[in-house]
């Protein structure tokens, strides 16, 4: 049975698109046929992060309007043949999306794909609403600072009251916390909320912590999802997250400060 995953946060700039790209790539690399959809109509970014911006012909809105078929619009990833990208339209706005249209496309994708990752736009308006409406699982991307945590909480409220599952009284959406841009050093200095602080406020299952990392910006600029950079801490963090989501038991990393040279030599990992 296909699962629809929404990557959402409420707040902008916390790493939703980076996460969507990494998660989708991770799932595909594990052999699951995966599609990733950019719901940020008008501010499309996912194709850049995935490095397929020069291959976009048709987009999400074209498919909704019946101007192209789904197969025409889906772009196969150049790194992994199990991964497909459905880009957003840059020339339209969120009003071009309709609940009926989105539902139809997702139903069609469900027949062919194991996982469908929906990259939500920021905010709680139409685009974000439609991105989460049909979801089975939600990845809440949060930065360790108060406004991001507050917005995530708001988004969780919307997930539990305005999604399809909520409206039809089905089993609620499974919610997972992804804490991104985490810096243990700054937590220690009291400049950043700790994992425990965030979990206390949100009381949510922690799927993983992604450390603040230069590799994320490098990956974005080069158009390769950071998960493919297996040497980077952020890449490993996303690999852990995908593994945990698929049911593997992996201990949490990147929560404590980086060890010094001796720690690295003798402390394992």
């Amino acid at each position: 049975m296909a699962r629809i995953i929404v990557v959402t946060s409420g707040k902008g700039g916390v790493g939703k698109t980076t996460t969507s790209a990494a998660i989708a790539m991770g799932l595909a690399k594990k052999g699951h046929k995966t599609a990733v959809i950019d719901f940020d109509v008008g501010l499309r970014n996912l194709d850049l992060i995935m490095g397929c911006e020069r291959r976009v012909v048709y987009d999400f809105v074209n498919v909704i309007n019946g101007e192209a078929t789904l197969n025409q619009a889906l772009i196969r990833d150049k790194n992994c043949n199990q991964l497909y990208i459905l880009p957003a339209s840059q020339t339209r706005d969120k009003d071009a999306l309709t609940q009926e249209g989105v539902g139809k496309i997702l139903d069609e994708l469900k027949k062919e794909f194991k996982y469908i990752v929906c990259d939500s736009p920021a905010g709680i308006e139409k685009g974000a609403h439609l991105a989460m409406y049909f979801a089975d699982d939600a990845f809440i991307v949060t930065n360790p600072e108060v406004s991001s945590v507050r917005d995530s909480d708001r988004m969780l409220g919307i997930l539990s009251s305005k999604s399809r599952r909520a409206e039809q009284n089905e089993e609620p959406i499974k919610e997972y916390l992804l804490l991104s841009r985490y810096s243990p050093d700054r937590v220690k200095l009291g400049e950043m909320l700790s994992v425990d602080d965030v979990q206390e406020i949100l009381s949510l299952h922690l799927l993983g912590v992604i450390p603040e990392s230069k590799s994320v910006l490098n990956a974005s600029n080069s158009g390769t999802p950071v998960i493919l950079d297996e040497k980077s801490d952020a890449g490993q963090a996303y690999a852990d997250i995908v593994a945990r989501y698929l049911g593997e038991d992996r201990p949490h990393r990147f929560i404590d400060e980086k060890k010094g040279l001796f720690g690295k030599l003798f402390g394992g990992r």
Binding site: R150, L156, S160, I201
Partner: protein
């Protein structure tokens, strides 16, 4: 009314009916000795003269009638008026008592479980009496927040939540509200009755929103943005440090919110 203004009445509406809820003290009697009642009532008034001055009052004869103690309603009303209170309703009286009250312009409220001592009027019958009485009296009658003060009604409209109330969510309960998880900052929980939060209370909690001053808020970890009972509120800034992050109960005492450890 002058004849001039009567001409206009046909064209312009000079009145309208609105429904409104008031909070009114109810005098529950357990003894039919008017002298004793007067003495004890006087004593109560002496303790808070400003509170009782010209205060409307509903008297409740339910308990008396349950004990088969009769009371002369006309005398009772005169005594209450003499003490400076304004009786505006009778509740739980038998037919004869209700009739006496009506003759003095006191509306009859269909009390909870109104006993109709031998008159055998149906519940809807007493309702009709009370509506007619309200329309007939010069003063708008003040319906009590019955659903909130009456535990039998409250249990049927209790709302129980087991999942967190998130920022931006608003929960309303016509009776009591019980939450077995946290209430996030930016969330709002409202109840006509009591509020119980068995998690961190970080949002706004408003109990007794229909004016029930007896309503209370209970929480196991107070971090609220705002707490309110029957319109008396405190914001986060007013909460003193000692009660923060503590399990507390909050109730009204002389129109002041009291926060107490539990």
């Amino acid at each position: 009314m002058s004849t001039d203004s009567q001409k206009n009445i046909h064209h312009l509406p000079v009145l309208e009916f609105k429904s409104s809820t008031f909070s009114v003290p109810v005098l529950v009697l357990a003894n039919n000795d008017i002298i004793t009642i007067e003495q004890q009532l006087q004593e109560k008034i002496r303790q808070a003269p400003e509170f009782f001055k010209n205060s409307p009052l509903v008297f409740d004869l339910q308990e008396l009638n349950n004990l088969d103690l009769d009371i002369h309603v006309t005398d009772l009303i005169n005594m209450i008026r003499k003490l400076g209170l304004l009786p505006i309703g009778i509740r739980g009286g038998v037919a004869r008592q209700n009739q006496q009250a009506l003759e003095l312009g006191i509306p009859v409220h269909s009390g909870h479980n109104a006993r109709d001592g031998g008159y055998a009027a149906s519940q809807s019958g007493t309702d009709a009496v009370s509506t007619a009485a309200a329309a007939g009296s010069q003063k708008q009658k003040a319906p009590e927040p019955e659903s909130a003060s009456n535990p039998q009604v409250a249990t049927t409209s209790t709302v129980l939540l087991t999942h967190p109330v998130r920022s931006g969510q608003r929960i309303y309960a016509a009776g009591d509200l019980i939450i077995l998880a946290q209430v996030s900052a930016g969330a709002e929980i409202l109840a006509e009755g009591n509020i119980h939060v068995y998690g961190s209370l970080r949002g706004r909690a408003l109990a007794g929103v229909q004016g029930n001053t007896e309503a209370r808020i209970f929480c196991s970890d107070l971090q609220a943005e705002l707490i309110s009972i029957a319109g008396n509120y405190k914001i986060s800034e007013d909460l003193n440090g000692a009660s923060l992050n503590q399990p507390v109960q909050i109730y009204l005492q002389n129109h002041t919110l009291v926060i107490k450890d539990i």
